[in-house]
């Protein structure tokens, strides 16, 4: 007797902060098919960026994702600086590194907390988020805002970090090191957590390569990819740190990678605060000539790629954002099938999916570089793009969606 049932999750679900729809087909307890609908968050930000000047775009891109606000703005700057072929001043490079690592700290702690929440370990949730608060405070001390710093600009950074707060940030790091060490030990030594998470949602190294996953998701499957090491930007070439690797590919390994990356980030931050060079903050106003550039950046979730094409005006002609979750999310296809229902949520959460990063559109451009799809057509194109992603999950596209 076939006992197939379809279970709908979302779009508004108490466990998911963002609207996303999943439908799981289950046979008894086992998941046999998983389909996702992910067009709820599509707003058209890339198009918006093409109507903003190079000075305004990084501030807009901070609003792609609340957690990766430094990621996207710095990644865009990397792309434009690649186009220009300029090196940013060393002090700006160090400031960008500090911002990026503070962001990685609070993002990893946030994930550890949410992962604990998903499996019913609310103590871990409360702990991790309590330890995350001082990181946000440090961000606020240094930039004036808990997440959106508005610091990165093309050719450097907009403002300086106030050095009088460096001792307070160092104290925060010292405390955080002890706290996360305790948290890590508690998580790693807990037999229940080990039994719950080991061997769950395994993404084999071969599957990880096939799906092209990045960041901690890849590093937990034994793939040593890290843009900070492979193609150093900002100040990473001068700093000393390790790439954390685990071969297992299960949820536990992903948690371990993130937990062990926290002390590495703390180490990077200490080195930056100690060695902070003096000098100018930015290269002043730059004219962006015709051309194209690629920016890479190791976000907390993996490699972020921005593509920028300029036509010589003060606004980018085209901006394409490929966020890390865009390649990490389809790996559910490999890690969730055959799993019991109860493991799906934590497996989905394990790659730290960020839907607001992922849901980008594409502009169709012909060989001469003229866009052949204007704004109304773009919406259709963006829907088609989402449909294509939906098809990859084996879902029939929602053709009844009004294309108004």
């Amino acid at each position: 007797m076939s006992d197939r049932k379809v279970i709908q999750i979302g779009p508004f679900h108490p466990l998911l902060e963002e609207p996303v729809g999943f439908s799981l087909t289950v046979e008894g307890e086992r998941v046999v098919a998983i389909e996702a609908r992910m067009d709820y968050i599509h707003k058209g930000l890339e198009r918006l960026a093409q109507e903003r000047t190079y000075d305004m775009v990084p501030i807009l891109l901070e609003r792609i994702c609340g957690i990766c606000s430094v990621t996207h703005s710095v990644c865009f700057c990397n792309a434009v600086e690649d186009l220009l072929g300029v090196e940013i001043p060393p002090r700006a490079a160090y400031i960008r590194t500090i911002l990026g690592e503070l962001e990685r700290l609070h993002s990893h702690l946030l994930w550890v907390g949410l992962a604990g929440h998903f499996i019913g370990y609310n103590t871990v949730f409360m702990w991790a988020w309590k330890y995350r608060e001082p990181v946000c405070d440090a961000f606020e001390m240094l930039t004036g805002h808990r997440q959106n710093s508005a610091l990165p600009m093309v050719g450097g950074v907009r403002r300086d970090l106030p050095e009088e707060y460096f001792p307070a940030v160092r104290r925060m790091l010292d405390e955080l090191e002890g706290q996360t060490a305790r948290l890590t030990a508690a998580v790693l030594d807990d037999p229940v957590l080990a039994a719950r998470l080991k061997g769950v949602g395994v993404l084999s190294p071969a599957a990880a390569l096939d799906f092209g996953v990045v960041g901690p998701t890849a590093r937990a499957s034994g793939l040593a990819t890290d843009v900070r090491r492979d193609e150093p930007y900002a100040a990473y070439a001068e700093l000393d740190w390790r790439v954390i690797l685990r071969p297992e590919g299960d949820v536990f390994a992903k948690a371990v990678v993130r937990l062990l990356e926290i002390p590495e980030s703390i180490g990077i931050l200490r080195q930056c605060l100690d060695r902070m060079p003096a000098g100018p903050l930015n290269l002043g106003t730059l004219h962006v000539p015709r051309g194209e550039g690629i920016g890479r950046y190791e976000a907390p979730r993996g490699e972020d790629v921005h593509y920028v094409r300029s036509n010589g005006t003060n606004m980018p002609e085209r901006l394409k954002v490929r966020a890390p979750s865009f390649v990490n999310i389809p790996s559910f296809k490999a890690s969730c099938l055959g799993a019991p229902m109860a493991d799906v949520m934590i497996t989905l959460a394990a790659c730290d999916p960020c839907y607001s990063c992922t849901e980008r559109a594409m502009t169709l451009v012909d060989g001469r570089g003229a866009p052949i799809a204007a704004a109304p057509g773009l919406l259709a194109a963006s829907r088609q793009r989402t449909f294509a992603l939906a098809r990859a999950f084996g879902r029939a596209p929602d053709l009844d969606l009004a294309l108004d």
Partner: protein, 146 residues
């Protein structure tokens, strides 16, 4: 009527909240979750996040409303029992903020909710994102209005 005042008191002492993230950048959602964690801990005021709009007194909306999210948000609002109110967290929910000119958004959350309920009681919490303290201040203001 005494029964009503008891009901009102219970409502004010323990408002249940359903959170709808409508296509925002996630930042407000994180600050909302932050309100639940040890430093801010809104549960000491009886505030609880619940799993269904049918159990909720307050709808927490964050983010601009994308075209795809418009109908689900209106549906969530109509499912809520009365008296009901919405707390619009973040500048996007209030007035769309940075996404004002984007083609994929249907409007700020207040307009989308008022399309189905012109009398809806709304409290605006601006900020990008508002700090947890601001969200709590907005919530307290809303409780006074209920």
């Amino acid at each position: 009527m005494p029964a009503t005042s008891l009901f009102d008191r219970a409502l004010r002492k323990s408002p249940w909240v359903f959170h709808v993230g409508t296509s925002g950048c996630n930042n407000c959602d994180i600050e909302i979750a932050d309100c639940l964690t040890p430093r801010f801990d809104v549960e000491r005021f009886g505030v609880r996040l619940v799993g269904s709009p049918r159990h909720a007194d307050i709808l927490l909306v964050s983010g601009p409303v994308s075209r795809a999210c418009r109908a689900p948000l209106q549906e969530a609002w109509l499912e809520m029992p009365r008296p009901r109110a919405a707390l619009l967290v973040g500048v996007c929910a209030c007035s769309m903020g940075a996404y004002r000119d984007a083609y994929g958004v249907a409007g700020p959350a207040d307009r989308v909710i008022r399309e189905v309920d012109p009398e809806a009681k709304l409290v605006y919490v601006p900020g990008c994102p508002p700090k947890p303290e601001t969200i709590i201040a907005g919530l307290v203001k809303l409780l006074g209005e209920l």
